[in-house]
């Protein structure tokens, strides 16, 4: 076991745990954001750099601070480590800089993007972004690509987190897409136009932190914050069949895997559940799903009144409700 101090809070975790996972054990506002790290995917992390933290004391044995900011998602804890995140100006400035970098080539087409409302990049730019851009050159653009009948790729929105590549590598038998090119010309693609055809291919949509990979059966049907999430399951021969249904009234608009507060799926689901079962009668409803994520979807939740969602700083007064005191 290793004891670390994160933003002044002591927490004890297993040896080999990453700083990010230790922070998640504390939970709340101190948790660094993560755009590329994804717990279920081996080897993910270290790429987006938004989770950078300052290690002011390496360990009890070697108390020297680490010279550079480190990516908390891949750096293992040491006993006696002292880490600063929200309490360190350098970290916040670096993060602000990285969010700016992520946004310079992003189209900022949130008003027409299906991910809006549950987008990690949108949340990050609310928290750390600036209102004006210093970037005046033309933004990098790509044509939209059809990856088969269910998945659409908007490379323009991609932040190259590699999550979809790891997903295809680790939960499907054959990966047909990958990263082509390098530098800011790097793109997700299949090289020769190809269909991502696999029972579990739809999971790349769930892991995408932005709106680069979208579900064609859901595109432009509605906005996420208007839909109501329900936990449901069915007897599925290929996957666990445990999903979240997003619908309005009796209409199921979208099916996704169940995601935790860090947008990480609990269990990957198959394409049949995701794309073909769009009737209420296909499912056994378990009840409303509580969304823990800091996002506008939880601001509009029907199950519990929400008290000041920190992610939306200027929430109109009317939407802020007082929790009944216990």
């Amino acid at each position: 076991m290793a004891k670390i101090t994160f933003d002044g809070i002591e927490v004890e975790v297993e040896d080999g745990t990453t700083i990010l996972q230790a922070a998640r054990k504390i939970g709340g506002d101190v948790v660094p954001p993560a755009m590329c790290f994804y717990t279920p995917l081996k080897g993910s992390g270290g790429k987006c750099r938004v989770c950078l933290v300052k290690v002011t004391q390496g360990s009890a044995r070697d108390p020297r601070p680490m010279p550079k900011l480190v990516a908390s998602c891949i750096t293992p804890v040491q006993d006696g480590m002292v880490v600063e995140n929200t309490t360190n100006e350098e970290v916040l400035n670096a993060r602000k800089g990285i969010v700016e970098m992520l946004l310079i080539n992003h189209p900022l087409d949130c008003p027409v993007c299906d991910q809006a409302g549950e987008c990690d990049l949108q949340n990050l730019s609310y928290e750390h972004g600036v209102s004006a851009t210093r970037y005046e050159e033309p933004r990098r653009t790509f044509d939209r690509v059809d990856l088969g009948p269910y998945i659409q790729l908007h490379m323009t929105r991609c932040i190259l987190c590699y999550r979809c590549v790891y997903t295809a590598d680790q939960i499907t038998e054959k990966r047909v897409h990958g990263v082509l090119g390098r530098g800011d010309a790097a793109e997700i693609g299949t090289y020769i136009e190809n269909v991502i055809d696999n029972d579990f291919s739809g999971n790349v949509i769930d892991v995408c932190p932005v709106g680069a990979l979208t579900d064609k059966t859901w595109r432009f049907k509605n906005r996420v914050w208007f839909t109501k999430p329900l936990n449901a399951h069915r007897d599925c021969p290929t996957c666990s069949g445990k999903v979240t249904l997003w619908g309005r009234g009796d209409t199921v608009l979208r099916v996704t895997a169940r995601k935790d507060e860090y947008a990480e799926v609990e269990e990957f689901i198959c394409n049949t559940c995701r794309f073909d079962k769009k009737e209420m009668t296909d499912w056994t409803i378990e009840g409303p799903r509580h969304i823990d994520r800091g996002s506008v979807i939880s601001a509009n939740h029907y199950e519990l009144p929400v008290v000041n969602v920190p992610i939306v700083p200027n929430l109109p007064k009317s939407t802020v409700k007082k929790m009944p005191t216990e």
């Binding site: 090119g181 390098r182 530098g183």
Partner: protein
């Protein structure tokens, strides 16, 4: 003339053949090490020698070797980094092209020290002709029993392979090199784990520069203590310098570390002075990624001491008034060279070579290039200079591998030392974009 360790026989006709190379004392270190020394003794000699990594970072080679994990039943690897592609660096190419056996000898001795039975030379893909030379030399060494099973009857086995890269600068970064060598996309890995623990094929690996490995035979033959006597302080031994730019005698020079920079530029033994007797404007002393220094700061440190060709002296003053020895690519600029254009050129290179894995480098290198392009072509704004400084700062230190730093340093240092020139470009776009136009104000001020 100083002592020549690496280039002593480099111009002997036929030195690329095993016969001539052996006639000049070649492969003595292999015999000595394999027959009379234990691997640990070789490592100790290298430690004593104070030999520092010649690829750019200058990390002590013996120390790096002693960090190598040695778990039972797991193979260890030595990989030679011959992916030399930093603008201005060409020392390894010349060395391997002329004297391939010297590198092979170093590989055998070093692999023995590290207990590696398979070793690789990862060579830059563009140097295909050097690859052929190396392959020919390796075949000769195999035939002579210097490679393969039971080398010289010592019971030590070594297989040596040469692998060409696909032409990416990033594959010179050690973990990207290992990825590429494994046949994957050349993306740098997250560290830790370091290659000394989990490197090539998940096994402990040491990655060393060509020049570092080629220095080992001399150390084994003449002892580490002798090697440590060459040079000054912690900068021991000799170093190959690729001198280029506006000098009379561009080329590869082997210097004893500690030669004064002024002597290196103006002595006829080395660069032979500035071309056509012009005035020196600036020097990039260690390859395009290290900070550029103006004429006055390259000759003397901020404290007024004479600047020497050593790791310590060149980095004296940090990045405020110093630079780095780096890989030893000494690029000289005369009064007719435009710093803005040059900085833009470097930024273009790093933009092109960023692997695109982590966001600050992927987006930031392109951003810097576009802003510099704008300034160079007469469309800059006054706030662009501060923007560049800020973007460089946002990249520096926040990336997976040092390419981000390498892209940020030249831009930040050019602005630090030549801000007036950037301002002139922005204020006088028409004059600045005229063919051959160069800002001379700062230069005149420096000489007064």
């Amino acid at each position: 003339m100083g002592i020549k360790i690496l280039t002593e026989h480099i111009n002997v006709p036929g030195i690329e053949t095993l016969e001539v190379y052996r006639k000049h004392g070649g492969y003595r270190s292999v015999e000595k090490a394999l027959k009379t020394m234990t691997p640990d003794e070789v490592v100790e000699e290298v430690k004593t020698s104070g030999l520092r990594g010649r690829g750019g970072a200058g990390f002590p080679a013996g120390m790096k070797w002693s960090f190598l994990a040695k778990p039972e039943g797991v193979p260890r690897y030595l990989v030679c980094n011959a992916d030399e592609s930093e603008p201005g660096t060409f020392k390894d190419r010349v060395f391997m092209e002329k004297n391939p056996h010297a590198l092979i000898e170093g590989m055998i001795t070093s692999s023995y020290a590290l207990g590696a039975n398979t070793s690789y030379i990862y060579i830059r893909g563009e140097l295909l002709f050097v690859l052929r030379i190396l392959e020919k030399a390796i075949a000769e060494a195999y035939a002579a029993g210097l490679l393969g099973k039971n080398i010289l009857g010592s019971g030590y086995d070594l297989d040596l392979h040469v692998a060409p890269g696909g032409g990416a600068y990033i594959c010179g970064e050690e973990t990207a090199l290992l990825e590429s060598l494994e046949g994957k996309r050349g993306n740098p890995r997250n560290k830790p784990p370091f290659p000394a623990v989990k490197g090539l094929f998940q096994s402990p690996t040491v990655v060393n520069n060509v020049e570092t490995i080629a220095s080992v035979p001399w150390i084994v033959n003449n002892t580490g203590a002798e090697y440590a006597k060459i040079g000054i302080g912690r900068s021991t031994g000799t170093k190959l310098i690729s001198a280029s730019g506006n000098i009379n005698r561009p080329g590869v020079y082997e210097i004893e570390l500690g030669v004064p920079v002024e002597e290196f530029i103006y002595s006829d033994e080395y660069c032979g002075g500035i071309w056509k007797g012009k005035q020196l404007k600036a020097v990039v002393p260690g390859g395009s990624s290290v900070p550029i220094l103006p004429a006055d700061l390259i000759m003397k440190t901020a404290a007024g001491e004479q600047r020497l060709m050593t790791y310590e002296s060149l980095s004296d003053g940090g990045f405020v008034s110093g630079s780095m020895l780096g890989s030893g690519a000494f690029i000289v600029f005369d009064e007719d060279q435009c710093i803005v254009r040059n900085t833009w050129n470097y930024a273009r290179f790093y933009h092109h070579e960023s692997c695109g894995q982590c966001s600050p480098c992927r987006e930031g290198t392109g951003w810097m290039e576009r802003v510099l392009h704008r300034i160079e072509h007469g469309h800059g704004h006054q706030q662009d200079i501060d923007l560049l400084v800020s973007v460089a700062k946002q990249i520096e230190g926040n990336t997976i591998c040092p390419l981000g730093d390498a892209a940020a340093w030249p831009v930040a240092s050019a602005i630090r030392h030549f801000r007036e020139e950037f301002e002139w470009h922005i204020k006088h776009p028409q004059e600045a974009t005229a063919p051959g136009a160069v800002y001379r104000g700062q230069l005149a001020a420096a000489t007064v």
